[in-house]
Subunit: 723 residues, 2 copies
Amino acid sequence: MEFKAFLTSLGTSFVIFVVLMFLFTWLSRKPSNSVVYYPNLILKGIDPFEGGKRSRNPFAWIKEALSSSEADVIRMSGVDSAVYFVFISTVLGILVLSGLVLLPVLLPVAATDRSVRAADETSEGTFNDLDKLSLGHVGKNSTRLWAFVLATYWVSIIAYILLWKAYKHVSDLRKVALESSEVKAEQFAIIVRDIPLSPDGLSRKEQVDLYFKSIYPEAFYRSMIVTDNKKVNKIYEKLEGFKKKLARAEAIYTDSKKGANPEGTRPSNRTGFLGLIGKKVDSIEYYGEKINELIPKLEAEQKVTLREKQLPAALVFFTNRVTAASAAQSLHAQMVNTWTVLDAPEPRQLLWDNLPKKFFERVIRQNIIYIIVFLTIFFYMIPIGLISAFTTLENLKKLLPFTKPIVNQPVVKTVLEAYLPQLALIVFLALLPKFLLFLSKAEGIPSESHATRAASGKYFYFSVLNVFIGVTISSSLFDKLKDIEKKPNSIVSLLATSLPKSATFFLTFVALKFFVSYGLELSRIVPLIIYHLKRKYLCKTEAEVKEAWAPGDLGYATRFPGDMLILTVVLCYSVIAPIIIPFGVVYFGLGWLLLRNQVLKVYVPSFESYGRMWPHMFTRIMAALALYQLTMFGFFGLKQFPYAPVLVPLLVLSAIFYYVCTQRFYRSFQSTALEVACKDLKEIPNMEVVFRSFIPPSLSAEKTDDDQFEDALSQVSRSGSTL
Amino acid sequence: MEFKAFLTSLGTSFVIFVVLMFLFTWLSRKPSNSVVYYPNLILKGIDPFEGGKRSRNPFAWIKEALSSSEADVIRMSGVDSAVYFVFISTVLGILVLSGLVLLPVLLPVAATDRSVRAADETSEGTFNDLDKLSLGHVGKNSTRLWAFVLATYWVSIIAYILLWKAYKHVSDLRKVALESSEVKAEQFAIIVRDIPLSPDGLSRKEQVDLYFKSIYPEAFYRSMIVTDNKKVNKIYEKLEGFKKKLARAEAIYTDSKKGANPEGTRPSNRTGFLGLIGKKVDSIEYYGEKINELIPKLEAEQKVTLREKQLPAALVFFTNRVTAASAAQSLHAQMVNTWTVLDAPEPRQLLWDNLPKKFFERVIRQNIIYIIVFLTIFFYMIPIGLISAFTTLENLKKLLPFTKPIVNQPVVKTVLEAYLPQLALIVFLALLPKFLLFLSKAEGIPSESHATRAASGKYFYFSVLNVFIGVTISSSLFDKLKDIEKKPNSIVSLLATSLPKSATFFLTFVALKFFVSYGLELSRIVPLIIYHLKRKYLCKTEAEVKEAWAPGDLGYATRFPGDMLILTVVLCYSVIAPIIIPFGVVYFGLGWLLLRNQVLKVYVPSFESYGRMWPHMFTRIMAALALYQLTMFGFFGLKQFPYAPVLVPLLVLSAIFYYVCTQRFYRSFQSTALEVACKDLKEIPNMEVVFRSFIPPSLSAEKTDDDQFEDALSQVSRSGSTL
């Protein structure tokens, strides 16, 4: 790839970005678009245009983003979002502090080296001007390499210091959130799984109540047995569907009255397949009938479910936070794989289906899924390798000769050269996240946030292995394949050899990613178009319109691994080709700014895990750091630098740092510390409300019967006896 | 070594054993020896000779041992001893069930093989008759090897089944012991370590009380701050020394009155170095004065210690067992390395000096000690290798030619051949345990039983690595040294090659060990002689006599690794040379019988850990089993058996079995399950007694002052405010 191509790529991306940004300032000022650009504000009941201040300055959003505090983020979007900003600003800090030293020091050191250049260690093509500034330009076994060794240490030490501060800060954020005096339902509940068969013929409900009453005679409030809700959910969804359809039919009817015919036309539909065949009926009557049919059916099924479909899992409620926090951490049964406990997540993120899964079933599922993910990572390796090997312009011309006349046009050529390989990659990666989330849920994880973390971890390893290592190595795969066969252990040195060759690829990748994807992110063109189309042609009722502009959440499962991929790339190249650092800084700086806006005004978090994402982020950052150190170790080896082992202490240091951080902070992310849970609440919790918030919607009957004596939700049974 | 030498060794050992056994029956019948043979009974206030039944039948002890139940063992010697018997009977079961199949099947299969024998795979020397019965006698790549593969599976599967049953049984034993309705002080207390500096200038005592009162407003009883007791302990020991000397002097004076002089002679001593120089004084007066001097000094020092030498660790007491059990498992502080908690061991096994050691100090200490142990294991390897290489008779004659005339005598020769190498080994191993216990305590472990477990683990790895692998490999070290240098990975195949050569060595080792050491164990000749000598020449007071016959405990730290060494040897040879199995059966069978007697009548346990030793034993047995499977894998490889990989699933099976057992049972050995702790007590615990039982003797003043307001032991401070 030529230098010109790179500049073209950069230029086009930048133009796209600027266009999208102006589009944003123009579109976001229109009140009719406010539900697309300010849904979080609207849902929180704040008028986005109060005082009209938003209409004047097109860059007002930047000022607002910069002046917003962490407390604002927590208030508007929760602790998890704040933790995400801690992640971004920590990474930004690492890159800025690295760049401040590495750029002025390493670039001159590399550029002024006059020793012979090994031709095989420079970027593919003739990327001369940039290559002069990279480590590849320094001669073998040169004393100048010491500067690069010191730089490797500098980056690592900066990372340690900032990560330590970040971990401490996030731990404090979590502490403050958990000791808040607000009553949060999940702080009073625990999940109990693997309930053994009752020996003396008690119902599950009685068994659980008896068990926990005898252990916590004072603090035990009530239990809720998990039931098999498949059938009741089905009926409930059907009912909700009819309710929506009824509302829609009524809205259509009301609308029609406004037109020429003051009587209006009653909407009708066919009862058969997809409303296309069958008898034609009056919609309002038909749906009303259906609803009236289903309500008693639902109630009957609810009773049956609660009474007869109790599963060996439960939620147990306590009257105070300390007991709940302590109970979630304590071993309850002598047989460790029975009565296992876990702190409850928020009601909305409970994965009910996973609760009754058995202890060893979960272990087996987990292992099977690890194998599947492993296979996925390595079977995708092959197509990605092929794509990045074939999508060079030369290969394209060779393989598809008929494209030659088009491709040889200078403009087309430059654009294709700039985007072809990267686009293939990006499209490719877009297919995966849903599959990984599905796999993570299949592990038996009980909460949405935990499943998101698990999926995000898988996606991280996937993207680092496939995109970074895969592209790097496969770009030199065809001539190196024999070497790998000979010495399969030489992956580190192979990686180190291939890195400089792929430098320009990744520079373009980072640039493309930040300009185009951030432009799309900020302008929200796609959601805007979808919203307007839906509103115009589909939505009839208020609820439907609201659904059309529902902004969704930040999407940690893919956003964070995407950032991590960039971080890994930038870290690994930081010393080899320091010119990449500014790109990384722009990526994370721009990201901070844009997402601050999005988090404050657009996205609505779909769960709150009080920063549990952080240890996970920390581990991934450390993995990237270790990969970077390992690569540098291999790289200095390739440069025949005899002092390459001076990098070994750095790897040891990383291991120690990781160990100390994990020992010092991690467990408080797993469970709630009692000193935090024991803080006073501002009011005595209404346990009935706490309890009710966990009842799944399909089971919450309008009228509560107190006569449902032994069912899964009923009040503590009258027996006061202990086990 | 010749077959004759082996028989001689066996014969002599057996004769020694029979002699010692008769000595035991004769000596144990004399009432004057009862404190040596029945100290545990006497200390429990049971008359060993009631009804005179013990005097008739010389084998009565065998009947008694056989008829004693597990409940008897628990009553007389605690759960730990019962767990030790579970270990022995499990191992015995594995060996008996293996032997029942392996002996009748494998011996004929091996003996009738007519194929060519590889000379280098038989025992050293001409141990022909036994060698015929071993796997070494089977030809390479013979189909008969399938019998040995199946045997390998059989032994492993038997082991899995019995170990599973044993783990379940021990878990039940622990459960029953912990849910006992007796009040046990340690079930009401937790250890708190790593207490941070108080931010607002509170004393440690106030800080701890405030902290725990706010978390456990109802169940918190009192705290006891750990103090720096070095000085007060010194004074206390001095005082106790003088008290003993005074008692002794008074006893001598009383004795002298009984003799010729009815007035008696007042004993005197010199005040200088060791009582040899200095002024001669009247002992009774002198010691009385010294005691009167020290008592106020002790009291003053106690006050100073309690008030001013408070350290950042404490014991915290709760008014019920559930809260204590739950508190010991819960995370208390957001900073995980502060306020760390641990369930309290019995008061008598607390290692006070280790309590205030800091979190990361403990980690560092642990790692340093692992390195020291590692070095110890591998530096001892060299001397042991040399010893076992040199102490063959031929080497002895070559190296020390002047011993030739003696050594060539047939009797001397046979005895020397039989015992020389083994004796060196046994003496050698006797030096180590104390050192390993010292190291384990230096790790910062807070309880005696835990330190014993840690020492025992180190000793196990030491003995397996050094004795088993060391002897096996070094016996063929001189011709194989070059091979190792070439392929250092070939340790498994080297082990497999060397095993058959050392078979006879280990047969003799096992035989010697069980006959001689069990003979000494049962007859208690050494403690008997020491006791009688002491009583005759040294002891003057009752207390001194009691000290002279104090039986000590079972000595897990060395006994268990010793057994494990035998088990490892027998397991590894079980298929290669099944003839070793009966020896193993005799070792563990005899061991069970003898130790049943010793545990019921002799040894007094010095601590009770409610079976916490078991998971540790289980891990070691699994390690031995894995070593066995690995060795067999190497061995079949050496036999050029193409189906050797059929043993790989066995290793995987072992890993899964270990994982499942650990997941299912282990955590209930680490902490007390709440369902166990919540059982009713037979009386309301007297918390004052519970609290006092933890006060170290040097600090327990005769009169309790309630005015010691802010010291380490004082009552909850008056402030009722929360944090």
